[in-house]
Subunit: 250 residues, 2 copies
DNA sequence: ACAAAAGTGTTCCTCTTACACCCATGA
DNA sequence: TCATGGGTGTAAGAGGAACACTTTTGT
């Protein structure tokens, strides 16, 4: 029997999405202004990660899709469950009141499931987001966020850097056709390293799933670069073959 | 404003723990019998992963610790959040009634946060678990479990195999001092491969964080094996150094 | 012709893999 | 002395890292 002294029925669940994009130079994250219903205005904490409580009939992925689509529209998006933040004190006082008020409930705590998302960020998406009330902020320019969203963001950056070295998620950031240089710049930005251009090319072009197409850059005042695409089918086929003990650090 | 047609306040949250152990030959998972309050008995579905609803004031890790300690006692345990299962239909009908009844609540759904755990399984733990009403079942002998616990178990096995190649969690399964052979057998079991003994030794012994101690096996009727230990400090120090693009499959 | 970025090769070294026999102990 | 599992070495190949110059285009 569950302990009769404990309560189990006063908890809300939310999703909060950390959506990353790459503008060609820097990593950006999608933020929105908090709509302040009954909370005194604050200069420093009015930005937050997009999120929402989940309704009784909704699964988490649907909720995360709903939340992100509000700001990025119907484009395809890489979306993955990351981590649950469950400190009973993570939302309290006025923050909790704000949520209860906003959703018309009276819960004593809110757990949040953090989602990790990647999109292809371009001019059109930039302005779409703006019209919908969101902003893309370079990671270096992110200051204090509402609730515990700085903590979630830090976890997401960490997750991004790890996953980036494990799986070819780089291509989620780039348009369908891209140049080797764009790809290299992306790796350098995300992992915060410098990469030798010759070695990078050699490595990337040795991958069967990065394929040249019969198109080159146009209208640039230097040698036009070859375009490549990412072939997911080939990646999936080949990724089953390998077995490595990658924990090896000497 | 949250959509006033939706309800947000009728959801319970549970943790379910997949605890793995290695008995020297096979991987085992910790299961417990479901205490059937108001449900017709079933021959095939009376085993489940250990789990519990979380109370309003509890964080997830504490809940997972509480749940596992009931069956493994106070020994140290590797415990990590894995994935949330949030299908609104995942628990319904009699299953849902059983939970509401058991905990004295009336929720319309239960989300569960699956935890992933590893313990050092030995004779003492085996019998401790038995006294507490749990069982260790070899993975090959796990049949139909209650609720969606087979699904959770499959996800946990997958997670284990991936993590095993990424991080030195093998040592969480073994006693403080172990032989190379034990370690190799463990890798072969978890990853379901055969490993060349000479190459395995070479690799393992090249790792600064696997250290020989001045002790050998005793009472065996063959050359007694050297004992080694895992030095976590050295691992942590060295793991910061390396950077690799491990997504590379050709 | 010049500025600007694209593209190209070689050498050295480390790590991986495949493979077969001798060693130390208890019975 | 024998059965049992512990422990050892080498050669060939693949992948990673360091490093500097030529090519193609627009202006």
């Amino acid at each position: 029997m569950g302990n009769p002294n404990l309560k189990y029925d006063n908890q809300a669940i939310s999703v909060d999405c950390t959506v990353f994009g790459f503008d060609g130079n820097a990593l950006c994250v999608l933020l929105e202004e908090r709509r302040r219903v009954s909370l005194p205005p604050s200069d420093t904490e009015d930005l937050k990660l997009p999120g929402s409580l989940i309704s009784d009939a909704e699964d988490l992925l649907s909720a995360a899709n709903r939340v992100t689509r509000e700001l990025v529209g119907s484009r395809s998006i890489y979306l993955k469950q990351m981590e649950v933040f469950s400190d009973p004190q993570r939302v309290q006082g006025q923050e909790l009141m704000w949520i209860n008020n906003f959703y018309g409930v009276s819960m004593s705590r809110v757990l949040t499931v953090a989602f990790f998302a990647l999109v292809k960020l371009d001019e059109r998406l930039m302005s779409y987001t703006k019209r919908k009330g969101g902003v893309w902020v370079e990671l270096n320019n992110v200051h204090q966020l509402a609730l515990d969203h700085n903590k979630i963001l830090v976890a997401a950056i960490d997750y991004l850097m790890h996953l980036f070295q494990q799986e070819p998620i780089a291509f989620e950031f780039l348009p369908r056709k891209f140049t080797v240089k764009q790809l290299q710049k992306l790796y350098e930005t995300v992992l915060d390293v410098e990469i030798d251009n010759r070695n990078f090319r050699k490595k990337i072009l040795s991958l069967a799933y990065v394929q040249p197409i019969s198109e080159h850059e146009e209208g640039v005042s230097h040698k036009p670069a070859q375009y490549y695409t990412f072939n997911r089918k080939i990646y999936k086929r080949d990724s089953k073959k390998r077995f490595r003990l990658n924990f090896v650090y000497k």
